[in-house]
């Protein structure tokens, strides 16, 4: 049996850390998404909404090497892809922080719970998603 290391509620510093992760992750992704979109629109000035719907510009950047090559070439679609990835990664980073806290606090059960969640998240993104593609 495990017992909470530090009382039922997590310490204030943990709340602040979680809040900071969420704000930084969201800010980073929005800067990449909005900045990338503005430059993309300048590069494609007469693009209609229906045309934008018909052609998803990031499909070729979903793989790791494609994304790296796209970023190295300064392609805005690759920047947009990175923005989406930052958005997805933010809650995952938050789970990692939770795991670190519980593991170092000696809360074995909660550490196992957060580790399982982390593994499932990574499995979905790195294995299941590409398989279904």
């Amino acid at each position: 049996m495990t017992t909470p290391a530090d009382g039922p509620q997590l310490p204030d510093v943990e709340y602040r850390r979680m809040s900071l992760i969420l704000r930084l992750g969201l800010s980073t992704s929005l800067v990449l998404l909005i900045g990338g979109l503005l430059v993309y629109l300048v590069q494609h000035p007469y693009l209609g909404f229906d045309q934008a719907l018909a052609h998803n510009p990031i499909l070729q950047y979903l793989g790791f090497t494609g994304l790296v090559d796209g970023l190295a070439a300064g392609n805005m679609a690759a920047v947009l892809t990175l923005g989406l990835l930052a958005l997805v990664a933010t809650p995952i980073l938050r789970v990692m922080t939770g795991f670190y806290y519980f593991r170092h606090g000696g809360e074995r059960t909660m550490a196992q719970v957060t580790l399982t969640v982390l593994i499932l998240l990574l499995f979905g993104i790195l294995v299941l998603g590409p398989i279904l593609r």
Binding site: M1, T3, P4, P8, Q9, L10, D12, E14, Y15, M18, S19, L20, L22, R23, G25, L26, S29, L30, L33, I34, G36, L37, Y40, L41, L47, G48, F49, D50, A52, L53, N56, P57, I58, L59, L62, L80, T81, L84, L85, L87, V88, P91, R94, V95, G98, T109, M110, V113, T114, T116, V117, L120, L121, F123, G124, I125, L128, P130, L132, R133
Partner: protein, 284 residues
């Protein structure tokens, strides 16, 4: 329609969606997905993908504020993610498979029926401000699933304990399934599990739901993203607008009475249910 005109409209829509999503714990997808399909002619799978992005944005924006004010219960939220994440993985995978087979209309009807079943239970508890005499179960005691927050409206500290964790985990799995499948926050189910089964105060339930929605959505979004369902040209303004709306909503929530939040919450369940059934039958 030119993109320069469509994008500001999408932004405004997303601000409204984020505000509603944060105030109710539903997430912005509930508003964004039908609006994208009905008003902008976006195909359903693409709208689901954008909906998933709005969930991530609104959860991070509102979650940051709720967490800072200690309204979200991090321990309870992280514990319940063990059920929502597998649900979301299965749900999103099902959507990808069903979209290719054009069979998702049946699931939309089922979603609407389930949501309509929730409404009576939600209404019958609408006069409960803070749950009283809650008995935590053994798992709740072992993991320390309890806490305290300061209620600005009642002007006192409110202590709470989580009860009935097993049925709550079951509902959370269903919430993850629905979230992954339809690109919505499924806050309806999360708030239900947190409030009705765990017996948490409404504000803690809403804030913890918001906190959890991001991780659930990350599980589903990863799959939808890899399947090419997310178009960033549409998703970017929607994510920005939802984040702004969610930030505003999270600032309002601590100063509203629980009953006010609930009366915002109930009509949106009904709207979501009707929308799902109609679309499932190809109407609207």
């Amino acid at each position: 329609m030119q993109l320069e005109l469509a994008l500001p409209l999408l932004l405004l829509l997303a601000v409204a969606a984020g505000l509603v999503g944060a105030l109710t714990g539903l997430g912005g997808g509930v508003v964004v997905i039908p609006a994208l399909v009905l008003l902008f002619g976006v195909p359903v799978p693409d709208a689901i993908g954008v909906g998933a992005v709005t969930i991530l944005a609104s959860s991070s924006a509102a979650g940051a504020a709720y967490v800072r004010e200690h309204l979200s219960d991090l321990r309870i939220g992280m514990f319940l993610e063990i059920a929502t994440v597998p649900g979301a993985l299965i749900g999103a995978s099902t959507t990808v498979i069903l979209t290719h087979a054009s069979l998702d209309s049946i699931l939309l009807v089922a979603l609407g029926i389930v949501l309509l079943l929730i409404v009576p239970g939600t209404l019958s508890r609408r006069h409960v401000e803070i749950p009283e005499a809650v008995q935590p179960d053994a798992r709740s005691q072992r993991l320390g699933l309890s806490g305290e927050y300061h209620d600005h409206v009642l002007d006192r500290d409110v202590e709470y304990h989580a009860a009935r964790t097993t049925p709550a985990l079951g509902v959370m799995f269903g919430a993850g399934l629905v979230s992954g499948m339809f690109g919505i926050g499924a806050g309806v189910f999360k708030v239900l599990a947190l409030e009705k089964y765990l017996s948490l105060p409404m504000k803690v339930a809403t804030a913890t739901s918001n906190f959890m929605i991001g991780v659930t959505a990350a599980a589903g979004t990863g799959i939808l993203f890899a399947a090419g369902f997310i178009d960033p040209v549409i998703a970017a303004p929607v994510a920005l607008g939802t984040a702004l709306g969610a930030f505003g909503g999270s600032r309002l929530l601590p100063h509203l009475r629980n009953r006010t939040v609930r009366w915002v919450f109930v009509p949106f369940i009904i709207l979501l249910a009707i929308e799902s059934i109609l679309r499932g039958f190809g109407i609207g």
